[in-house]
């Protein structure tokens, strides 16, 4: 039974990684850039939600919607100011800019909201479903996070495969130059990708902070890195891959903590990542694309 308890803890941690990883992978899959500021957009979303709910006593779901709106605009502005001018630059330059953006957002948050940690009010309370006479418990927030992950995953997949805009996104992802020649507005498409990715970040922020309720300007940074790892694990660019990678990373982390050593859990997680990447360089569900020379 303890094993099952650990498994559920792993799933609940993993579901948080998964929902963050969805945003990472979506932006990477289309814009082909690692948006390291994603974790910090999550933090901004969480702060907006925090202030809406605990200061202005808004309904938590309205708070999340408000956070999504703010983050969507933030995503568009960040893309317009920091990434768009670098569209033709080498990918390394864009990567460094993204890291810079991440620090910029963290420090702005520090000035605006100070460094004192705040305790986030859970958006759906702290209850749990009890199974097997209360021996197992699945918290409501875990159930909500997994449901949200699956819903988002399905909507995103449908959006990308079925809609015109989704088609344009796939075209940009394959070849920006050719897409432009076919009459696709590449800039607008990439801006749209960032808008969607950042909107997702707001949801992830509210769920992350509902599960682990301290909120600081650095709150998004570390889960962001872990989620990035999860996205790579599952195959970066693949939407189901991010979901699977997130869940597996969470479960491995908890099992490593429980059965190997709480000191070495991160080492074990990354060792597993290295092994997976050695066997399947594109990640679990990633497609390896041959470059034509």
């Amino acid at each position: 039974m303890i094993f099952l308890n650990y498994f559920i803890s792993g799933i609940s941690l993993g579901s948080i990684y998964a929902i963050i990883a969805l945003g990472y992978t979506m932006v990477y899959g289309i814009a082909k850039m690692l948006n390291f500021a994603h974790g910090d957009v999550i933090m901004v979303g969480a702060y907006v939600c925090f202030y809406a709910v605990s200061r202005y006593e808004l309904n938590p779901f309205l708070g999340v919607v408000l956070a999504m709106i703010v983050c969507t605009f933030l995503g568009i502005i960040v893309e317009r100011l920091a990434y768009k001018p670098l569209r033709q630059a080498p990918s390394l330059a864009v990567l460094i800019t993204a890291i810079g953006m991440s620090y910029f957002l963290q420090n702005t948050a520090l000035l605006l909201w100070s460094s004192n940690p705040k305790v986030f009010p859970s958006i759906i309370g702290r209850g749990a479903f009890k199974l097997f006479d209360g021996k197992l418990s699945v918290s409501h927030i875990t159930a909500l996070t997994i449901t949200a992950c699956i819903v988002i995953m399905i909507i995103l997949s449908l959006f990308i495969s079925k809609t015109r805009l989704g088609k344009a996104m796939r075209a940009c992802s394959e070849d920006k130059g050719a897409a432009q020649l076919m009459g696709i507005n590449v800039n607008a498409t990439i801006s749209m990708t960032f808008a969607i990715g950042s909107g997702l970040a707001a949801i992830a922020g509210a769920l992350l902070c509902s599960a682990y309720p301290t909120l600081m300007p650095t709150t998004g940074a570390l889960p962001g890195i872990k989620a990035f790892t999860a996205a790579v694990f599952g195959g970066i660019g693949s939407i189901p891959g991010a979901f699977l990678g997130g869940l597996m990373l969470g479960v491995i982390e908890i099992f490593a903590k429980a059965y190997i050593s709480s000191q070495l859990s991160d080492a074990v997680v990354f060792a597993v990542l290295i092994i997976v990447l050695l066997v399947k360089p594109a990640g679990l569900l990633g497609k390896s694309i041959q470059e034509k020379v």
Binding site: N5, S114, N116, V119, Y212, T218, A258, S262
Partner: protein
Amino acid sequence: MKKILTCTLLILAMTSCAFGAAFKIGGTGPLTGGAAIYGNAAKNGAEIAVEEINALAGDVTFELRYEDDTHDAEKAVNAYNALKDWGMQVSLGSVTSKPAEATAAENFADRIFALTPSASSAAVTEGKDNVFQMCFVDPNQGSASAQYIAEKGFAKKIAVIWKNDDVYSKGIRDTFVEKAPELGLEVVSETTFADGNDNDFSVQLTEAQTNGAELVFLPMYYQPASLILAQAQAMGYAPKWFGVDGMDGILTMEGFDKALAEGVMLLTPFNADAKDEKTQNFVKKYQEKFGEVPNQFAADGYDCVYAYYQALTQAKASADEDAEALCGKMIEQFTTMTFNGVTGENVKWAANGEVTKDPKGMVIKDGAYVGLD
């Protein structure tokens, strides 16, 4: 209003002229970043002491300057250098342990005397004759906690959760675990976490619970502790909780459900509820000026400035002397004097810079700290 202000400023300027320059006292601490609550508290406490002392307009007056180190060793050294350029004569070291280890080495090399309010790691003072501490050194906190738990008979079976990438947490855990068996306490579960995975404590708590721990010892800062308390409640696990001075501050977190911390015990040298005049005066002034109840770090900062005041007065030091001359005098004073402050009576320092004073047990009751004794 403006006139009164200018007048007081003028008077202040004149008095400081009349009695010669003030001693330049500087320190670094996290004024921003995750540990900002400590840095700002120590700075605020020191400010109040400086104001009080300068208002006396005696032979010893101070000019205080605090620089931000964001709890980062490298930034702390930069901040220290800025203070040195400013002409710092005596130093308040750094507020937190990691940066303090870095600045203490500079203090030692530059022969600038340092008295840190709250950097409690043993490495801060080790091998340095001119670096002193106002707070307990970590090893003492660990053994004192074990002793306190054993004496009061709180529990026999104990779980320890500590942060393995933090010298502060490790130092306390080491001596606690070493001392516990001697006192008949059994450490039944010992688990760790680090910066990257300090969100989920379900494994650590499940392990403590299945091993039947009656008390969980938390040698850490309050931020992870708040997560542990929340997750334990969600699990339905309710052991006794025992923290150290880093737990101080948990009640002032915005949005924190104080009911979660009900019954949490901690060992800290300062009790804001104490009835003595000195503490009450300090608490009242702090509340007036900063709008909150001072924590232990504020009290440490306050005491540091007063300890300097006592030492400089006794040594008949003058503010014209350079840092090195003052350093010699301060070493002599601090190793011989006895100090009474808000964080303890009969405070004495050993030649290695460690302080001796009695820790006070506190418990959180109805959302406030109450003395246990």
